[in-house]
Symmetry: none
Subunit: 427 residues, 2 copies
Amino acid sequence: MNLEIVTIGDELLLGFTIDTNAAHLARELAALGARIVRRSTCGDDAAAIADAVQAALDRTGAVITTGGLGPTADDQSKPAIAALFGQQMVLDESIVAALEQRWLTRFGQPLPPSNRQQAMVPTGATILGNRHGSAPGIWLEDARGRWVAMLPGVPREMRGMLADTLIPRLRDRIGTGGTVIRSRTLRTCSIAESALADRLGELAGGIDGLSLAYLPGNDGVDLRLTSWSLPAREAERALDAAAVRVREKVGRWIYGEGDDDLAALMLAECAAREATVAVAESCTGGGLGARFTAVPGSSRSFMGGVIAYHNDVKVRELGVPTEALDAQGAVSEPVARAMAAGVRQRFGTRIGIGITGIAGPDGGTPDKPVGTVWVATDIDGDVRAVRAVLPGDRNEIRFRAGQLALDRLRRTFARDADGDGWTVRAP
Amino acid sequence: MNLEIVTIGDELLLGFTIDTNAAHLARELAALGARIVRRSTCGDDAAAIADAVQAALDRTGAVITTGGLGPTADDQSKPAIAALFGQQMVLDESIVAALEQRWLTRFGQPLPPSNRQQAMVPTGATILGNRHGSAPGIWLEDARGRWVAMLPGVPREMRGMLADTLIPRLRDRIGTGGTVIRSRTLRTCSIAESALADRLGELAGGIDGLSLAYLPGNDGVDLRLTSWSLPAREAERALDAAAVRVREKVGRWIYGEGDDDLAALMLAECAAREATVAVAESCTGGGLGARFTAVPGSSRSFMGGVIAYHNDVKVRELGVPTEALDAQGAVSEPVARAMAAGVRQRFGTRIGIGITGIAGPDGGTPDKPVGTVWVATDIDGDVRAVRAVLPGDRNEIRFRAGQLALDRLRRTFARDADGDGWTVRAP
């Protein structure tokens, strides 16, 4: 099935908002076997919307739009596209009732007058339910089988409606026999793109007809294998086999697959070992704690910690010796070690993590350039520390410092300790 | 001047790469007075490129493309677009020489054979130099004055070529007397989009020819005024005047403009009052501390805090009374107040912030649904708390809780206290 996407919004055209919806749609639809052949972005005015959608209908006959379904005057998608199908707009009383109920339950207020507009729908339309927001989606189809699905522009709402209503609908239409585009992502950490390519050797450019893409980010370098032209079952088998070969070469640096989050994986490892965790953060300022607590159920292992941004806090709350601070500065091995041990003892956990560094843009010196961090882990009293100089701007350095701390835990938990880790057993 | 953008690349259509080039181009060109009226994305094959670019030339006659200028077989932009202008491809020896020099100097290698392709250019083309990469850009123009500018897809190279060669060229064509697209963004917090529209009344849909867009996000709802067809000086005046009128209606909820970050603004307010801050975070897990410390120079006012994720930590580190936890639960007014006061006293700061809530997805009850948060501020011993039910998923609720805490500080610092705030003076 060939599809086109039309993303609607002045803020997209003007460059104020990055278009993440189109990318998400494309990935989800490719997995179904639907191929995006064109993508357009137009502004909020009804004429531009009608022009872009009409052209897409004429070219391809299957169109998904995002945006323009809100309660204000610059939300023109429904009337503009309804006109292309020769339909009029009518007020759907069941949607009004649902909106009134939503506003009463969530906000304790009656439905604002401007939100009634969201209950206007084209005659002959199928409503796509929205569990994550006010605006219902719309499916319109003509006698020739050409269709437009209108989704909200707010990413969370769009993604929810896509999964709940549109994907199942398209899956029925597509069936299961054709070729698909499928990918498998292996997530690495603490190794550079070029070093990965070197270690992959002859696999570096692709494997058995599957392409291999290198996607560097703050989490580390993701390796993406993609099958372009096999049926679903064969694609999965090919990806499985290729992933095995990649792991044989660089498995030591692979911490997960797909969307795996290293913090979530480490919490699972802690839970399996009945190991509680506390953090002592300086330059990361609470960011590692925020990463842990982003994971539902993190309270099973994550107790909390101390944001020791000022040196007085390091001394008073964590027992960091003033001599160490004076002699070697806050960004040093003894201070990192004392932070990890201090928070572990104070919070009574099995694991303590200490992070101290220079996030920049100021504060660097020739000895300790911007990006210098010390990360220490104290596990059942065994304290180890490592120094790194991390690339990027202030926020990239802070994020990467947290990721380094998580990777230190990962190496500790890995069974093939490789001399660098050690084994942590459940009590 | 009206323009269209065509971004070329399978990886964009498939959603593996987010299209940041289009947004960057749009912002830079709008400042010149060039208006992007349509944006398209097509795949790497020559037929798709020709189709998309021809349509754009016919509609608008001024097209910028990105991508497809590399050294591999899937780089088809130049031949595909040359054919539209009736031109052929020839090898430009001066570009070959420049590429050979580049490879020798940067990589110490001779020019790989596949890279010679980058020296093929359409007859009659103007070359746009690339200081950041191998691929030269191309400008093609026909006798009617319709033109296409082809830029590289790698963002850093595209941005460099845009600034070095294309913007000056377009500035000459547009001149300086023409009209510009200019925007002014007013950032609001703690008020819903529809409530803003209701309060704006007759201004809700636009003011004096300027459009008004509502951009909801986790920071709050941004209001963007845009001038589309005035010369630069008049546009600025019109935006100034419209902003005044908007502030008259909803100024109470406006915390900043443009890219203003509420955490940075609050740190500046604290610094001006010589007021230090400490945070006690439960459901936000360190996220508010991370927001403060994302701001360079935050150490002037931000001392640190306690991540009191587990109730034991609230009791032991912050002195929260166990009776309050047992009687009303962790997400309650007395616990939030005790957290704020506890961290303020312990850290010796003038300001303490306490945040406790139910971030979900689990943990909600009819009395305390998911999204329930209590935020308390203790300023010089004066403790105030507020309860809210915040929308969104786990991470949106956590971010919004931090933003609510910052907004509570903002209201405190606001001179027109409106009965809800109070005045904090420098000592």
